[in-house]
Assembly symmetry: C2
Homo-oligomer: 247 residues x 2
């Protein structure tokens, strides 16, 4: 079938190939919750009919979304919206690996949790105004009972209404963001530095003041690439390392 809608908008300034437009439309259905995590999408054929494009074009859009971990495709079963609890999504954003042995997910203990005003750094990272309303959470994370990381999470208040009333904050906050506010974390940028442990952090981590810590500043983004979380982790890397693959 030939799409009866405008097919060659070459006169447009912002030209996008058809498969990219299809992708945008499908992403929008993820954003607005039409398709929730875990749900199956219609088949390629069905989507092609709905959108008035060929199956190949739908496939190109789906493949690109799968490459970005938004979808999971299983031959013979169908295409599904990726869930934040799946281990491969979990470790997508968790790059800390023990020097010996296999990676495991740390426990969390919240030590403070409430509303605050955005500092300049927070405002810049989150794309909001300095002094704007944010939620701020501080947690200590442990492996095998051993504190290894203290982290400060900052969230723009307007994207997370009612966050302050939560009585409990689960270990996997990305699943919480998804279930409670329909916000899917799709990508993140991280910046790493080596710093000396402050007195406060040293006390929390049970290490010496001045001990070298790995500082990880993460800006996490949603499906539409808007920043939604700032996370500032200070980590004892004596028996751990941060692992990246460069291609």
């Amino acid at each position: 079938m030939t799409p009866d809608t405008d097919k060659s908008p070459a006169d447009e300034i912002g030209f996008k190939p058809l498969y990219a437009q299809v992708r945008d439309r499908l992403v929008r259905r993820l954003v607005d919750g039409t398709w929730a995590p875990g749900m199956p999408l219609p088949s390629e054929m069905e989507l092609a009919r709905q959108l008035n494009v060929s199956q190949g074009t739908v496939r190109k859009a789906l493949d690109s979304m799968t490459a970005d971990n938004m979808l999971i495709r299983r031959q013979g079963r169908g295409t599904f919206v990726a869930e934040p609890e799946e281990s491969r999504i979990l470790f997508q954003f968790y790059r800390l690996v023990p020097d010996v042995g296999i990676a495991s997910f740390p426990d969390s203990r919240v030590i403070s949790h409430g509303s605050a005003r955005a500092t300049k750094a927070e405002a810049t990272a989150l794309g909001i105004e300095e002094g704007g309303d944010v939620w701020r959470i501080e947690r200590i994370r442990s492996l095998a009972g051993q504190p290894m990381l203290v982290e400060t999470i900052t969230l723009p208040a307007d994207r997370f209404p009612g966050f302050g009333e939560l009585t409990e904050i689960p270990n996997n906050v990305y699943r919480l963001y998804s279930e409670r506010w329909g916000i899917t974390i799709a990508s993140a940028g991280e910046r790493l530095k080596a710093i000396a442990a402050s007195g406060r952090d040293a006390r929390k981590l049970g290490c010496e003041k001045g001990e070298p810590l790995l500082l990880i500043s993460r800006v996490a983004r949603d499906l539409e690439d808007r920043p939604v979380e700032l996370r500032w982790s200070r980590c004892i890397s004596r028996d751990l390392h941060y692992s990246v693959n460069l291609r």
Copy 2:
């Protein structure tokens, strides 16, 4: 029959999709130097004829190699072998960015350079025998005249014959590997830690002993995914950070 645990689908005997076989054959031509960096490849149509597959299958192989930065495709011009001197490739493996301002490439000063026996750690990383012959190079790298990192590079001697006779080692060693030994660095794994500066490193970097440094251990791999370089960088991250994007 008895469906044991989930097995990966491509666990089968030797089955590979046609486009993956085509990719393998094309990669081999890069490895053996048939197509050198900067050279144009035959057109898709020509390759399809040569390999007796359809243009679409050739395209899928070329697209995958382009995604892995082995090739560069330019509409209307052709497909070219990626060159290690292009800034795109340069920054592919260099993730250190100043906190303010734009990234630039540091100068290098070699402070030692010669043959050695592989330590256990080096042997494990490079997949050679402990005590095997290696080249070892130590360099200090500076930005705007300011030393910011000291690095130790270890190379397996058999992959780099004659390395010891070099009188000068250029700043961009990946270009050297390519031009002199036909070895293309295609990917790398990096591990980061925060450590305290040793007395030796502190002297070289002009910082205090015990100052927190970012330790970056890189294993660089060739087109066939074999480890060919181990690099151990200790970096002053006071005004710099290591930048990663997670998708």
